[in-house]
């Protein structure tokens, strides 16, 4: 029940913030002058943007434009890569993620991530996969609570009906689309504030992709979702705001409809009309 309590408290603080803000959404994440490197190669160049809470923000752009690197900076995963280096600020509710006293482990619990390739833990059962993140926090020591959280997370990830009778089977036994939803359930289970998705559908078939997209629209009621995709239709279908990146820079960032109907920048227009990329 701790989970409930945390969620409750969380929701209250969120609704307060929402009430205080002049518009009905607030800026949960503010990126200020963010640059990122791999060794000497600059991947993200002086990027500034604000992410609205309880919405889906899509980052589009051609391969190698730095969009994956960018969202990996948002939960401090970029520094895990070889030679990964970051400059600038990322403010989560006003607090800089890159401040010296901030523990990246803590940040990753508040900002979850789903990767391009479904990364289930093959030696764990489906149940343990979902529980793997929460058991790290050691808040859910009691088995019953754990079961509640696992069930709720799987339901939110629209996977419960398919796996409820085989929770003890290996996570590797599921199909690719199911594995990806399992990864989403695993991310949801730790009750993060933001979920980052790095091309979550690029390894999936169209039907699984559709399911994940429906799922994203469902979970944005409770979470802030940031998705990187090279599929423009996907961005157009699910996102509220879209950012277009090119060569490490954010070229345009606006409500999705505007970006796709009346792009302000010539390069954005060229990209979405398929002139390059």
């Amino acid at each position: 029940m701790v989970h409930e309590a945390v969620n409750q408290a969380d929701k209250e603080s969120r609704s307060e913030a929402v009430a205080a803000a002049p518009v009905h959404v607030r800026n949960i994440l503010e990126v200020k002058n963010l640059s990122a490197w791999y060794g000497n190669m600059m991947a993200v160049n002086n990027l500034t943007m604000s992410i609205h809470s309880r919405s889906i923000t899509a980052i589009i752009g051609p391969s190698g434009c730095g969009k994956s690197t960018f969202i990996r900076c948002l939960n401090r995963m970029h520094e895990v890569s070889d030679g990964g280096r970051v400059e600038g600020k990322v403010l989560l509710d006003g607090k800089d993620l890159y401040a010296r006293d901030v523990d990246p482990v803590e940040i990753r619990r508040r900002i979850g991530m789903v990767f391009q390739k479904p990364s289930v833990f093959p030696t764990m059962s489906i149940f343990d996969n979902v529980a793997s993140g929460i058991s790290l926090t050691r808040l859910w020591s009691r088995k019953r609570d754990l079961q509640d959280v696992v069930e709720r997370s799987l339901k939110k990830a629209a996977l419960w009906e398919e796996v409820k009778d085989k929770l003890n089977q290996s996570g590797g036994s599921l199909s690719g689309g199911q594995q990806q939803r399992l990864c989403i359930a695993r991310a949801i289970a730790i009750a993060p504030e933001i979920i980052l998705m790095d091309e979550p559908c690029s390894a999936l078939d169209p039907i699984s992709t559709l399911k994940i997209e429906e799922l994203m629209l469902e979970i944005k009621k409770d979470y802030t979702v940031i998705i990187v995709t090279h599929n423009m239709q996907q961005a157009a279908r699910v996102s509220d705001r879209t950012g277009f990146m090119l060569l490490g820079e954010l070229i345009e960032y606006a409500p999705t409809k505007e970006v796709f109907t009346v792009p302000k920048d010539k390069r954005t227009e060229d990209y979405i009309t398929g002139r390059f990329g």
Binding site: N75, M77, V80, V105, E106, R108, R109, G112, M113, F115, K117, S119, F121, P122, T123, M124, S132, G133, L136, T137, G172, C183, R186, A187, I190
Partner: protein
């Protein structure tokens, strides 16, 4: 992607794309030549088994299965049994594993997961170099440097603090099961470390990142993502080390004390199958005596064969798990 690769492999392997007669002839010669080499290796293995069996026949006929359970070794009366040698082989190998496994896994985790690259490469290289030292040199070092240290302070300290256990009772000889176990540990640490490091490095980064992204610390990531993913490979590495420890001859012969007896104390001198054969083969006379030594070899052959088969199966299981995940 990987699937399509494996699908294509067989058609390449047959190499029947060549249509001209000359190429076909060349192909056939090449095929037959390599086939002969491959068969030769199998033939050597089978031949070895047959010869061992034939030479061991006098002993097998005389003692039957009792050879495995008897503990006498009396060349004068020609009564032989293998039990002390089997016991010593297993005991010294187990001591070796108990010491080597934590050290090797710790070193492998450090090299594969924690060490910066400038340290990891030379570190791995140096550890693998340790495997290249001839065992007679390790044995000499063991006898002159290690055994005195083992006698005092190691054995006298163990005797005075853990002396209530039968394992640590009796006079500290220096040479004996403990010394043999430590020498074996030194010899198998490189192989277990090298193989476990490779197995850990084969764990995909996606697994590590997935665990980190859930808010795991580095240690939690290793413990919950890396080690479980490669656990059968690690078991394979350990069993590979065990296989080497069971058959190791020279260094063990030099430090185990060569006493044909079964004792509970790790301090007392003992014998392994390999050390028994090595120390007595040149002076053995008579069909039954030689036959008994050969039968010892046969026993060791079977034990190491079993151990290697198990290791193979475990490593094989791990690689198939990997293939399923893609």
């Amino acid at each position: 992607m990987q699937n399509s690769k494996t699908m294509q492999a067989p058609s390449h392997k047959r190499g029947n794309s060549g249509t001209s007669g000359a190429r076909r002839l060349g192909d056939r010669i090449f095929f037959n030549a390599t086939l002969i080499f491959a068969l030769l290796i199998v033939a050597i293995l089978i031949g070895l088994l047959i010869v061992l069996n034939m030479d061991a026949m006098p002993a097998i006929n005389k003692f039957g299965l009792a050879f495995l359970t008897d503990s006498s070794w009396d060349p004068v009366k020609e009564v032989f049994g293998a039990l002390p040698a089997i016991y010593g082989t297993l005991l010294s190998s187990i001591i070796g594993l108990v010491i080597a496994v934590p050290v090797s896994l710790g070193a492998a985790i450090f090299l594969a997961e924690l060490a910066p690259r400038w340290l990891s490469r030379p570190g791995s290289f140096l550890i693998e170099m340790l495997a290249a030292i001839p065992s007679v040199i390790i044995g000499l070092w063991g006898l002159f440097v290690m055994v005195p240290v083992i006698r005092n302070p190691v054995e006298s300290w163990l005797g005075s603090t853990l002396g209530f256990l039968p394992l640590f009772q009796g006079p500290p000889f220096g040479v004996g099961f403990l010394a043999a176990g430590v020498i074996l540990a030194i010899m198998i640490i490189p192989i277990i470390t090298a193989v476990s490091r490779e197995v850990m490095e084969a764990v995909p980064d996606t697994q590590r990142e997935a665990m980190l992204a859930l808010g795991a610390t580095r240690w939690e990531m290793i413990q919950k993502a890396v080690l479980p993913y490669c656990r059968s490979g690690l078991t394979g590495a350990i069993i590979l080390g065990l296989g080497r420890a069971l058959g190791e001859t020279m260094a063990v012969t030099m430090v185990i004390g060569n006493s044909y007896a079964i004792t509970e104390s790790l301090f007392s001198p003992g014998v392994t199958i390999a050390s028994k054969i090595a120390s007595e083969f040149s002076e053995a006379s008579g069909d039954v005596y030689i036959g008994s030594l050969v039968e010892l070899a046969l026993v060791l052959f079977v034990i190491t064969l079993l151990v290697n088969i198990i290791a193979r199966l475990l490593v094989w299981r791990m690689t198939t798990v990997k293939a399923v995940i893609g």
